[in-house]
């Protein structure tokens, strides 16, 4: 029998349950997070139009750069101001 040393972080993952999807968006405050990737704004502009048509209140946010995780303050701002967030993720 061999004994090895664990090369990993030895972290245990915590399981989180996914929130229920809202039945409709009417009256809900929805954040749209632009990650600053080329043409992401085009996609999010269209999403904003569709959400407003359905009675949602839309707030827009933007990450300083797509290459780094969103700053803590920005994440906090979105979490306290919105009920739902949509992120224009990746290419």
């Amino acid at each position: 029998m061999s004994v090895f040393l664990d090369p990993t972080s030895e972290r245990r993952l915590t399981e989180m349950t996914r929130q229920q999807r809202p039945a409709d968006v009417c009256g809900k405050t929805i954040g749209l997070l632009d990650i600053s990737k080329a043409r992401g704004n085009v996609y999010l502009d269209r999403i904003a139009d569709l959400l407003v048509e359905r009675g949602a209140v839309v707030k827009r946010y933007i990450k300083p750069t797509f290459t780094k995780p969103a700053p803590v303050d920005l994440r906090h701002e979105i979490a306290t101001q919105c009920e739902i967030v949509i992120e224009g993720l990746a290419d």
């Binding site: 029998m1 040393l5 990993t8 972080s9 030895e10 750069t65 290459t67």
Partner: protein, 480 residues
């Protein structure tokens, strides 16, 4: 386990040592007149006719750092105050307070190696006596399992086989640094986990490193995990970049790194395993795995590990590290780069002609119409460097000459110009009113001298999103 030496005179011997056998009459006399305590390493009956304590597990020898037998020690109130190794009559007399020890023996004879430093036993002893300093979880591999397969099965490799990280190997790896195993080296993206020297050593064993490479792996990780380098982004990007490590300083030669023929390629253990160890830490400790946070469209083979040394001895210029403020020390510079591409110019015999070729090749980096977006590491081969050196161009002159050749009319860069959709927005072109734009930012080109002595070639290693929005090169000093 008793490791404390008793008060009084103590000697450590073994039968296999001719000097120990020779001094047996001296030991007998000291035992009778001074109450000498004798520890024997290999034979409990040695010395013949004298009571001795058998250091069967070598714990006494290990914990008292015995390197030679015989070693004669004087202990007062539990503390060692004096020791002498081998047989040296004057020293033995002085240490014991005698005047006429071993009068019939030669005045001096060197001792033999202690069993506790026998290369065949040292790793086992280190694990036996120092293993408790290691905190990592022990993973038992069943006897029916193949060790190499077991490491693949647990997802701990980069796709190539790794060396099994046993306690003995990890402890041996840790001898390469003076840092404590529980020292924190860095916080590793993307999971932002604090990595200890011990965890780095485990991954360095797996990568195939020798202990003397460990400080280079640690320095590289400190650079890679710096916020300016942005390892999270380097992993997450769809572009084919990874950490490219350029090593500088006399230590590169001491550990046998390659800065010459095939410097980027196969065949040199230090180059290959230092880069690989860094990437294994990012994978195993940081949790950065392809298909998860690593989203590279193609990646590149250098993401297994890409590390080479600068040829400083043959260089006409100061080194990359020195140009970045790290003169006269061992250092690593990390650059978020793709695979190397070759600059071919076998005909240019003057610096101007050669600079024209360099500029033309650099212009095409990632897209000929994208400017100020990416940095590049330019690795100049010795035969090309000679052309610049003969014209007395130093690093600053070369950078200036390249910049002057890489000013591109903005009209050529507009989106759609030349039938190419990529480029800069039309409104920015209008604002520039015909002003040219530089291909690279003022600090966007890093010059390194490396490669074999034959071949009129150089190399470009293209970067990723530059500066604060992406990655900045980071240099770290190597500390033992």
């Amino acid at each position: 386990m008793v490791t404390q030496l008793p008060d009084g005179l103590v000697v450590i011997v073994k039968r296999e040592c001719a000097t120990c056998v020779m001094v047996t009459p001296v030991l007998a006399r000291l035992r009778a007149e001074r109450g000498l305590t004798i520890f024997t390493q290999d034979d409990p009956k040695f010395p013949d006719g004298l009571d001795s304590v058998f250091d069967a597990d070598l714990s006494i020898s290990w914990h008292n750092s015995i390197e030679t037998v015989p070693t004669l020690i004087r202990v007062v109130d539990g503390c060692e105050v004096e020791r002498t190794v081998g047989w040296h009559r004057d020293d033995w007399n002085a240490l014991t307070g005698m005047t006429d020890l071993g009068a019939d023996l030669p005045p001096m004879r060197p001792g033999c190696g202690s069993m506790s430093v026998d290369p065949n036993l040292e790793d086992e002893l280190r694990a036996r006596f120092s293993g408790s300093v290691l905190r990592a979880r022990r993973v038992e591999i069943a006897s029916a399992e193949d060790d190499a397969e077991a490491l693949f099965d647990r997802g701990w490799t980069d796709g190539l086989p790794v060396v099994a990280p046993t306690e003995e190997r990890v402890l041996r790896m840790l001898t390469g640094t003076s840092r404590a195993p529980d020292d924190i080296v860095a916080v590793v993206p993307p999971d932002l986990v604090e990595v200890t020297v011990e965890k780095v050593a485990i991954n360095a064993v797996m990568a195939g490193c020798r202990p003397e490479y460990l400080p280079w792996v640690i320095a590289s990780l400190q650079a890679v995990c710096n916020d300016d380098f942005n390892m999270h982004g380097v992993l997450a990007t769809t572009m084919p970049v990874g950490p490219v490590i350029v090593a500088n300083g006399p230590g590169t030669r001491a550990i046998g790194m390659n800065s010459g023929i095939n410097a980027f390629g196969q065949g040199n253990r230090a180059n290959l395993t230092i880069g690989r160890a860094v990437q294994l830490v990012v994978r195993n400790v940081g949790g950065g795995r392809p298909g998860e946070v690593d989203r590279a469209t193609h990646g590149n083979p250098g993401k297994i590990g890409f590390c080479f040394a600068e040829d400083e001895v043959g260089s006409p210029w100061t080194s990359l590290a020195e140009s970045r403020g790290f003169a006269g020390v061992d250092a690593v510079t990390v650059f978020a780069g793709e695979g190397p591409r070759c600059i071919v110019d076998q005909l240019a015999r003057d610096a101007d002609q050669l600079a024209n070729t360099f500029a033309a090749c650099l212009r095409t980096l990632h897209n000929p119409k994208l400017v100020l977006a990416f940095d590049a590491l330019v690795v100049i081969g010795p035969e090309h460097a000679r052309v610049f050196a003969e014209a007395e161009w130093d690093r600053a002159r070369l950078l200036h000459e390249l910049d002057s050749r890489l000013r591109i009319p903005s009209s050529e860069l507009a989106r759609g110009a030349g039938g190419i959709a990529e480029g800069i927005p039309e409104q920015i072109v209008e604002q520039l009113k015909g002003e040219p734009l530089p291909k690279f930012a003022p600090d966007g080109l890093l010059i390194v001298h490396a490669g074999g002595g034959a071949g009129l070639f150089s190399a470009i290693i293209g970067g990723w999103a530059r500066g604060a929005v992406g990655s900045k090169p980071v240099t770290s000093a190597v500390e033992r």
